[in-house]
Structures are given as C-alpha cells and as structure tokens.
Symmetry: C2
Subunit: 134 residues, 2 copies
DNA sequence: CCATACGTAACTTTTATAGTTGCATTAGTC
DNA sequence: GACTAATGCAACTATAAAAGTTACGTATGG
C-alpha cells in the first residue's frame, strides 16, 4: 500500500482501457491486475464516473468502460476528477495568530496555487491514448 | 497536528528571525510561539543547521540563530534543506509488472520532476527577509 | 430464480507524522 | 565545583489519512 495510489490506479486502468475501449472490465479483473481490492477500484473509478470519464453497469454482464474516446481523455481530466490537489491544499487555515504567519501563508499558498495550475496544464498535454507510446 | 507542518514551522520561524537576526531563541520559545513541542522544533531546525542556514549553541545561554544574512536565505533553501519533495516522490517503484504501468510511471514521474523543479525555482525568488512585506 | 456485477456503509489495518518522555552532554552562573 | 538551562538524540506513544476488508443491498442478464 502506498500513499496516493489512487491516481496511479486510475491512470493505469484507463491506459489499459484506451487499448481496448469496447471491452467491459469488472472491478475484480481490474483489482487483480492492479494488485488491489475490488472495493478500492469501485471507489476510485466511481469518481471518474461522476466526472463523466467512465460508465458502469450493474448486473450479470456489468462492469466498467470508457465514456469517451481515449484521445479525448487527458491525464488532467483524470487528476481533476479525483480532487487530488497534489501540490496545493484546500485546508482552511485556522486564523493565523501572528501577522508574519499570515503573510507567509499568503505567499506560500500563492506559489503552490501557481504550481498546481502548471501541473494540471502539463497533465493536460497527454491523453490516456498516448501513454503507452513512451 | 497537520500534514507537512515542518516547512510551515521552518519558514515561520526563520521569517521571525529575519526581523531580529541577532536575538538568540530557544527551542522552547519557538515551540510556544508555533504551538508545538521543543523536540519537534529541534528536529526541524536541526536539518536547517545541517544545511548551514542556522547555528545552535548548547548550554545556559544557548539557542538558535541565523547563520547568514536574512537576504541570503531563500524559501527554496529552506525547502531543500528539509528534503521535502512536495511534488515528486523518491520511491523506488518496485519493478512494474506490466509495460503500460512502466510507460505510465515514466511519463508521470517526468512531469512531476519538472513541476518539482519549477516549485524550487519559484520558492527561490523570495528570501525570508521579504516574507513579511506581503 | 439464480449468479454476478456494482454501490455503499462500517470497520480494521497500515503508515507517516507529530508529540512526548527521558537522559546524556554542554556551557554559562553563582 | 555545583547548579541551572540549553541542545542532541533515542525510544516510545498518539493521531490521522489512506488503503484494505467485510457485509449487505440493489440491479440485471440468463
């Protein structure tokens, strides 16, 4: 188990799906391949479904499939769907007691926000269809 | 207690020190101001000492002081001294079993490394003496 | 009607970090 | 020289976030 494996799991799974977009995959299949648990897979892919990247079907022949063409799903789409915020944090800073702390927080979070944006931009340059081609 | 408060603690403390560079501060003073524990302070500031940003003195009139002029210590110096790597991770990825995972990891860590660099660059633009002036 | 899938809630396990305690060492002060 | 007050460090505990697990409800194709 590692920290922040959700993004890895999501990207890994979608990259595979990009190869065979029509194939339906079950949570169990995906979990086995990724070395994790079906419930974890459903948790992660559920967020991608909410974001419109995937569709899921219940019942006997159910499973997961891409909701769009692989070329139309960028790594940024995946990242944003998971609410990751790898760099910046959304924490509501509890009333900075001292003015220096306040100024510091403002400046640091400004920098982190810029970096967060450029991360999204960079991730937006690659679609999940392009991942395999190193 | 919050995640990754070490950088906050370090920057906050050094920003204060930048205002009165000659004043000697004890771990206990600093901990009280920051709302934490003297040992935690020594752990964090110890890394800054290793990096040559601070000096410490033992004994009766001991404590902590800047080792350089405040103008000559950037936020990047502090960040790097702590080995933070907020964006990229140093994890040795345990032999990716599948080729897609391999390609993915290569691409993602490439992006993260670039972003990490630009974070350091951005942090390098501000010295701890400049923090107070929002 | 039954097998198989997702959806979700509740709980347990794991891991990183902060926090704490205790003690050795060092250095001023009386 | 004894005393006091500081850092240095090791070992332990506490907390919180994330992953993993179990259990069960719901839907659906055969």
């Amino acid at each position: 188990m590692k920290r922040n494996s959700r993004l890895s799991l999501a990207l890994h799974t979608l990259s595979h799906m990009a190869g065979e977009p029509d194939r339906m995959r079950t949570s169990t299949d995906i979990a086995d391949h990724a070395g994790t648990n079906p419930v974890v897979v459903r948790r992660v892919l559920g967020k991608l479904r909410e974001a419109g990247l995937l569709t899921s079907e219940k019942g006997h022949a159910g499973g997961w499939r891409l909701a769009r063409k692989p070329q139309d799903i960028s790594m940024a789409d995946v990242y944003l769907a998971l609410d990751e915020r790898l760099v910046a944090s959304d924490e509501i800073s509890a009333a900075p007691a001292c003015s220096i702390e306040h100024a510091l927080h403002k400046r640091v979070s400004g920098v982190l926000e810029e970096i967060e944006q450029s991360l999204v931009k960079k991730l937006g340059e690659t679609s999940i269809a392009e991942v395999r081609g190193a």
